[in-house]
Amino acid sequence: MGIPEERIERLLSLAREAVVDGEFDRSREYVRLARRIAERNRCGLPRAFTRKTCDDCDVYLRPGVTGRFRTQPGHVVVRCLECGATDRYPF
């Protein structure tokens, strides 16, 4: 695993800490930086990253705090409590 991937992983956990501390804008900074690193180095983002961050407002989705996670038949519905964006993925 190269440096870009390691940076992305670290930034994801830092974004989570920022949400735990109640600083949502700081978590957005970390998520945006990680997305930028991924596109500059053409390494993509881990699946955990796309699942746990909001596509619209970039906040880290922590269940009950910044995100609402509900299962429907065949898929998961994730609603961002900050901006209201909805994401769905199958399971």
Partner: protein, 150 residues
């Protein structure tokens, strides 16, 4: 893993830092964790507030080790480890309690191995970096030489 060699190309946010030397006396006593980074400055969270320190003309001392970034490095380490099946069990058991609530003691005993508890008292490496080496956009500091886009 972040090492003294790769530090200047690695993620600085979250690392404990101390200003070893600065062009201005105002920055000489700044010590804390790196909160955010811009092209020419680092923002350090200190007990007395967030301080923005210019990179140019400043010498930083970063601390690398398990003890100083327990909350940060646990998630990164536990995701890398599932290569051998013997370590998979305690890892998932350690991850689960952290999702219900961030309690440091549970996470440390669950996912924490002997090496991590050892690392808390030893294994802290202090790396002194000239701030001029860090003068780059945060996302592009990792790239070396010609980027893949050219």
């Amino acid at each position: 893993m972040i090492s003294p060699d790769t530090l200047t190309r690695h993620e600085l946010v979250g690392l404990p830092v101390r200003v070893a030397a600065a062009a201005s006396d105002a920055y000489s006593s700044v010590a804390g964790r790196v909160l955010r980074e811009s092209e020419r400055t680092l923002v350090v969270r200190t007990p007395t507030g967030d301080k923005r320190v210019p990179k140019a003309g400043t010498t930083f001392e970063f601390a690398l080790g398990d003890s100083v970034t327990t909350r940060t490095d646990e998630a990164a380490g536990s995701r890398k480890e599932p290569g051998s099946t013997s370590q998979l069990g305690p890892d998932t058991a350690g991850v689960r309690p952290r999702q219900s609530g961030p309690s440091a003691s549970v996470a440390r005993t669950g996912a924490g191995s002997a090496s991590r508890s050892l690392g808390e008292c030893k294994d802290v490496v202090y790396v002194t970096v000239d701030g001029d080496q860090l003068l780059s956009r945060p996302a592009e500091r990792t790239e070396r030489g010609v980027s893949t886009w050219r």
